[in-house]
């Protein structure tokens, strides 16, 4: 049974560019959350998707957007990249809305130059 998978594993972009990160949830999970983990910090909640809709959002600007597909996989898009967007982006999935245990993927390391 595959766990949460994310692609790509690493990415280098320049300021002003746009990036799309992808996540496939654990089998049977229908809720996907995205987190940003800056170096030396704990993960910070970006947003969460359930039934293809954004259900909750953390304190991130509109440059951060997402999408969930009918097969529950999800994308995180970041526009107009800033140097400060360099971080590890984590995807987490859970079994059902209201099931509070989240399982994390390996993350995508984004470097913005």
């Amino acid at each position: 049974d595959a766990g949460v998978t994310q692609s790509p594993t690493h990415l280098i972009k320049t300021r002003g560019q746009q990036v799309t990160l992808r996540c496939s949830p654990k089998s049977g999970h229908d809720t996907v959350s995205w987190y940003q983990q800056a170096l030396g910090q704990g993960p910070q909640f970006i947003f969460q998707y359930y039934e293809e809709e954004e259900r909750q959002r953390g304190n991130f600007p509109d440059r951060f957007s997402g999408h969930q597909f009918p097969n529950y996989s999800s994308e995180l898009n970041v526009n107009a990249l800033l140097l400060g967007d360099s971080a590890l982006y984590l995807c987490a999935s859970s079994l059902a809305w209201g099931e509070e245990t989240q399982y994390f993927g390996p993350g995508t390391r984004l470097l913005v130059l």
Binding site: G42, P43, F45, G98, Q102, Y103
Partner: protein, 113 residues
């Protein structure tokens, strides 16, 4: 705003020493509590969780944690650490039914053989 504090940023122990990592949260409502661990080169893994019931919870690899509601604390303990416990440990809280995890900044544990 809700927050999670982990008091120890770096901890160095010798094998067989006892471990206690502190975690305090600020939120007056009902919460679920988690400890996640990130071994070198691996992704975040759930170590243990508390939703309700017995405030002393046992997790994987001999770890346990005690929820003390009056102190807003959820400290992680292990009676005898091993070199393989070297990792970063994150305490996390979510507000009931929000599925939004709030993480502490993490504690880096190094166990010397």
């Amino acid at each position: 705003a809700q927050s999670v504090s982990q008091h120890n940023h770096h901890v160095i122990l010798s094998e067989a020493a006892s471990l206690e990592l502190g975690c305090n949260y600020s939120y007056g409502g009902t919460v679920n509590l988690f400890w996640y661990v990130q071994y070198p080169g691996q992704h975040l893994q759930l170590l243990l969780k508390y939703f309700s019931g017995d405030p002393l919870v046992k997790g994987i690899k001999g770890f346990e944690a005690e929820f003390i509601k009056s102190k807003f604390s959820f400290n992680l303990r292990k009676p005898s650490v091993q070199w393989s416990d070297t990792a970063e440990y994150f305490c996390a809280v979510n507000l009931r039914a929000t599925n939004k995890l709030i993480f502490g900044t993490g504690t880096l544990l190094a166990v010397q053989p």
